[in-house]
Symmetry: C2
Subunit: 177 residues, 2 copies
């Protein structure tokens, strides 16, 4: 994702008529900027016991390892978005298996939908937002160099139900933020 | 939800620098309106075998029955948003049980997270966005007067796993839109 440009300082905070929440309203044109939480879609994708990770080529957390994931775009289903992110970041083709977890990150107003998936082939390559991509056995995962807490959560939740079908999806771990 | 005011016609479509998707950019102030899919959170909430429904007092689908649901607000977890919507629309207090389903509605760029929940007490009352609220036995549900297809899907998915714990969440039914 490209960084979102901050709105011009002409924006002022006020409660629009008929609303009950303060919004950003442009003093120049009257536009009301209704902001909503964003949906991140991603995958723990595996191939013969190995898990796909991408080393980020962009901030935040450039140089750290992450799962293929990003913002859902307009007009996509959640599963389509997760497949597109894997294609863009790791040139990888996925088949989605099932929902692994829903994590809420209210501090940055994100809901993350993480799927369990498998690679259709082991052919992967770094896309423009990745410095490197790799397939990792569990014991080789760079635990100290993961980009975000939710990457750690998703990997551990994946491991907890590896090989199982009838599980309920996880949410934030109790000791998570 | 109040209807979102349409942006002023000063908005023009163009691809911002460093982006690869066309966005709405205000000719008056330069603001880039990054639009993202919206998250709807809602519940199938029950009390002694009866399910909570609300008759909508607002468009779209005014006068039709729906589950308590609405847009997730900034800074909320998905579960907090689902509880808030039940409080606002039906003056109901819920305890969330688990995720029942994720429905994608790409035509209107929505992802709906529907939880299974139970009412803490049977005291309910119509909030400002509801004409009426009620607790319905399965056979008394007004099937012909439901507001949206996803309400129908969530009710039938709820019934399919009633009393069960270890189920995977549903997504769009295969014959759904």
């Amino acid at each position: 994702m490209t960084e979102t440009k901050k709105p011009d300082p002409k924006f002022e905070r006020a409660i629009p008529p008929g609303d009950n929440v303060e919004r950003s309203i442009c003093a120049a044109c009257g536009f009301i900027d209704y902001q909503n939480p964003k949906i991140v879609v991603g995958s723990v994708a595996f191939w013969e016991g190995q898990i796909l990770l991408c080393r980020r080529a962009i901030d935040p957390r450039k140089g750290y390892w992450t799962l293929p994931a990003g913002y859902l775009e307009l007009g996509e289903t959640a599963e389509e978005g997760a497949r597109r992110e894997a294609r863009e970041e790791a040139c990888a083709r996925l088949e989605i298996d099932r929902l692994l977890a829903i994590y809420s990150v209210p501090r940055i107003s994100q809901v993350q939908l993480m799927f369990r998936a498998h690679l259709v082939s082991p052919e992967i390559a770094a896309g423009p937002e990745s410095e490197a991509v790799g397939l990792f056995l569990w014991d080789d995962i760079p635990w100290g160099d993961l980009a975000f807490p939710t990457v750690d959560w998703a990997l551990r939740h994946f491991q907890e139900v590896r090989g199982r079908d009838g599980f309920a999806p996880f949410s934030n771990p109790v000791d998570g933020v």
